[in-house]
Symmetry: C2
Subunit: 333 residues, 2 copies
């Protein structure tokens, strides 16, 4: 928490990371937003001088659903660390994020499990709308921090359309697709993304939360998404799964034991410039910290590079061509 796992800020600069995400829930629990505020905010605290997006804490509370109780007022839940009873209202979530001093704040939302009844989705989406208004009302507009609204609506395009109308009426600095990638089939996720993104305000950032694989990024952009966040590049790195332009590589596989090639021969990251698959396999098998470090550098470099390529393709008005080439490069490794 308050760290991109396995990366120093210097390494993040080196892979050209432009923004990082911090979990409000985790920082709320430990070390506490008041403490971070004493340091002048998260940027100083963790020595990161580029943008930070903070989530609202909603997703983590949702993940711990059996410990949480949602009411009109907010979310009552227990700390996963010591079981302490805690409460977070939409106003609290804004206050915490203002203390953290993030550049982009997210409204507290009620995540909806999949599957859910239409009634459940209607209720939760309406509550998210009321929370969004309370968030915007309480926000201190003078800090320069942006606030994004989150579009719920489950797997119902009409409910998502309604949610968008409500949020746009309140007016936010950006809009996020929430409640996707929560266990539904990939096709359904993409269908909902496409239908929702198409009717979201096109002059504002569209942010698909918690997604995804490299393919998901390309497909998300294809459907109109501008921003993503995901643990996948860092978590998979620690588990020895590496992303390359030609597909995925599981570094522990015996086939890499004597493989002197870099992970990805077309990659210019620190890891690929200096180390072989064989060495990375050895580090992984030996459970060395350096394994997580080097794998994370590579995966994040791959993700950041992919999005850079996507942006360039869009600027040159050749994204469709780029997408075709992206898939052509892939093969079973």
């Amino acid at each position: 928490m308050a760290t991109v796992k396995g990366m120093t800020p210097a390494s993040l600069h080196e892979i050209k990371a432009q923004i990082i995400l911090a979990n409000t829930y985790h920082l709320f629990i430990r070390p506490g937003h008041d403490l971070i505020k004493e340091f002048g905010g998260l940027h100083t605290y963790m020595a990161w001088d580029k943008p930070i997006l903070t989530d609202s804490g909603g997703f983590q509370i949702f993940s711990l659903r059996d410990l949480a109780k949602i009411t009109e007022e907010g979310a009552a839940f227990k700390s996963h660390l010591d079981g302490a009873k805690l409460f977070l209202s939409p106003e609290d979530a804004v206050e915490v994020q203002e203390a953290l001093g993030s550049d982009i704040m997210m409204c507290l939302d009620t995540c909806i499990p999949h599957p859910a009844t239409r009634e459940e989705v209607i209720d939760a989406t309406a509550l998210t709308g009321r929370w969004a208004r309370r968030s915007r009302d309480v926000q201190n507009r003078e800090t320069g921090q942006l606030l994004f609204g989150i579009v719920q609506g489950g797997m119902h395009a009409d409910l998502r359309a309604q949610a968008i109308d409500e949020l746009v009426e309140i007016g936010f600095d950006g809009y996020a697709l929430g409640g996707l990638s929560v266990g539904e089939p990939k096709e359904l996720m993409m269908e909902m993304t496409e239908k929702t993104a198409a009717i979201m305000p096109q002059d504002y950032p569209i942010y698909l939360m918690g997604v995804g694989t490299p393919d998901d990024l390309v497909e998300g952009v294809f459907r109109g998404v501008d921003m993503f966040d995901c643990v996948m590049p860092t978590r998979n790195a620690r588990n020895g799964m590496l992303f390359t332009s030609t597909g995925r590589l599981v570094i522990k596989n015996a086939q890499y034991q004597r493989d002197q090639r870099p992970v990805d021969e077309s990659c210019s990251c620190y890891t690929c410039r200096n180390f072989s698959r064989a060495y990375l396999r050895h580090l992984y098998m030996s459970k060395e910290i350096l394994s997580s470090m080097l794998n994370t550098i590579h995966n994040l470099h791959y993700y950041v590079g992919l999005m850079e390529d996507v942006r360039k393709a869009i600027e040159k008005d050749r994204f469709m061509q780029f997408r075709k080439e992206y898939y052509a490069k892939k093969e079973i490794v």
Copy 2:
């Protein structure tokens, strides 16, 4: 293994590390020296272009004594990984280190536990001497690799003196003090170091193996030692113990929770330039990889800087003054 735990080679360069140690035993077991030889040696394999010292494997075999059997021929032992029966003769140890391509190789020696009877020490020291001769005889002198002999002799100054005579007669590129820091009182270790170093060849490097704390380095140099190796700066870093010019700092202590100061206000390392004690405490409490990374950078920077200061003081012929100042700076933190 084949890594300085928690450090990339780039970070090692940044703290001005000039030489690293690799464990022959560990690399012999995994991934195997043959594999590393295929890569052109350890330098290429782990992407480290400065000097490497390899130990002989003896100490690890000693540490696993109940799994090892020492004969005239060499050491029979079981792999700590899978229990496979393995054997390492002095000739094997040289062959393995030649395959690794280290810059400084160590002769296989028989470590002696403390306490031991005089008879045990005499036998083990004599065997170490015979092994040293076999090592020097079998060494390929054309690789440019240096070979150091190891002075045993337990806690008996006369036996150590004999051991030195034998090794000097064979003739090595450097001489190490072995079998110290094996559980004996600190005063006894320093006494043996002083008596032994005084009669070792002064025109060759004198290397005190497996030592030690910052105080041990200063006291070792005071007694004539040129080189040291120890896990302490890296291992203690991972356990949250930080070395500073004014003493030790246990980062998990509650007193650092809101402490905005760097670990050591007189330190110029990446960690101290960017992060507070409070943040480092948070990372440690959260069991973040970055905790080990940043703490290791600091501790190694401290050790390397201390030895740099020692060298400068010696060059200016003011080591005694330096030693006085070193202790004056220390206080209970």
